[in-house]
């Protein structure tokens, strides 16, 4: 079986490889978005946008997790969620660019993003170790480059990258399996 990283490499020229990656993660990403929004329609739209953004940025994927694309996909999912709340409308930029919504042939969702969508996310962030929390916040929410994150934390871009990766992995664990993460 091909790893996620291999699928993403193949997806540079093969849409079916990307579909395979989608099949692996669609339910989990949808579960994440549904857990945040408690809104079926919004969760589906945010899932669509997450994967549309993943498709458009697949060339820049870097394998930092032993072949797994999970940290990368969850980072995109969080970014889509935070961006929707910040703009007070569902993020649809990549879907519109690719024409995904037209393919779905369904009425446009009118869900209004709410600050409550980020509530658990904020708490889970607070439970991270301070240097990982700061790195995740700067990279995912403030959209800084690794160099900028490193500069802000007084460390190197490489260390910043490691902190973000570890922070996201811990965050994912806390959001998906909160009880397990508390042990």
């Amino acid at each position: 079986m091909r790893t996620d990283a291999q699928l993403l490499a193949a997806a540079q020229t093969d849409a079916h490889a990307f579909r395979e990656l989608y099949e692996r993660y669609a339910e989990r990403i949808h579960g994440f978005q549904l857990g945040r929004t408690r809104d079926q329609d919004a969760a589906l739209d945010l899932t669509a946008e997450t994967f549309a953004q993943a498709w458009l940025s697949r060339a820049r994927f870097e394998d930092l997790a032993d072949g797994s694309a999970a940290p990368w996909l969850y980072a995109i999912a969080r970014h889509v969620l935070v961006s929707s709340v910040r703009r007070n409308q569902l993020e649809r930029t990549a879907c519109e660019r690719l024409g995904v919504l037209a393919e779905l042939d369904r009425p446009q969702v009118v869900s209004e993003p709410s600050e409550t969508w980020l509530e658990g996310l904020k708490e889970a962030l607070l439970e991270l170790r301070p240097h990982e929390r700061d790195a995740v916040r700067l990279r995912v929410i403030d959209e800084l480059s690794y160099a900028e994150v490193g500069h802000a934390a007084g460390t190197t871009p490489g260390t910043a990258r490691v902190r973000v990766h570890r922070g996201l992995a811990a965050l994912r664990q806390r959001l998906l399996n909160p009880k397990e993460a508390m042990r």
Binding site: L98, V100, H151
Partner: protein
């Protein structure tokens, strides 16, 4: 199959279709550019008087704009480029150094360039540690220089890349 599973399956179909369309679009766009460059180079060789027309296709200004267009770190650096080999190789010098370089030593770092429509059209390699001087290659030459992969050439880059 429950409703959510059905909806996710439909979404998967829509995404795959959109992805196929995007690949076809990128492929057509890359082929068109290759054709234009080949015709332009052919004309320039065959008819010296038309050389100016060929130079207008990928001007040094476009390469200069394509460098920060492809890389966020280089935004605001105002590169100035000169032609080394028309439509193939350019030498670029930044008017301002990158404010936030992503690595301490930029020498040998490679970055993509984009054309006016924000599609990857080549790439540059830093000649200096401070990132002031770059050697840029357009099209296939950038692949031969191992700056960008053949697959990446022609890709749409809506925003300058990071990292």
């Amino acid at each position: 199959m429950n409703t959510v599973a059905r909806e996710l399956h439909t979404l998967g179909n829509a995404l795959e279709l959109a992805a196929r369309r995007d690949l076809a679009r990128a492929s057509r766009s890359a082929a068109r550019r290759r054709k234009i460059v080949a015709v332009a180079v052919g004309l320039a060789i065959a008819v010296p008087g038309l050389a100016y027309a060929a130079t207008a296709l990928i001007g040094a200004e476009e390469v200069a704009a394509g460098l920060p267009g492809g890389t966020r770190m280089l935004q605001g650096t105002e590169p100035k480029c000169t032609v080394v080999h028309q439509d193939v190789e350019y030498h670029c010098v930044l008017s301002r150094l990158p404010a936030e370089p992503e690595v301490a030593d930029l020498k040998g770092t490679v970055e993509p360039t984009v054309d006016r429509t924000r599609h990857v059209n080549g790439g540059c390699r830093s000649l200096t540690s401070d990132g002031r001087a770059w050697q840029c290659y357009i099209g296939r030459a950038a692949v031969d220089q191992k700056i960008v992969s053949a697959d990446f050439l022609g890709e749409f880059m809506p925003t300058p890349g990071v990292g």
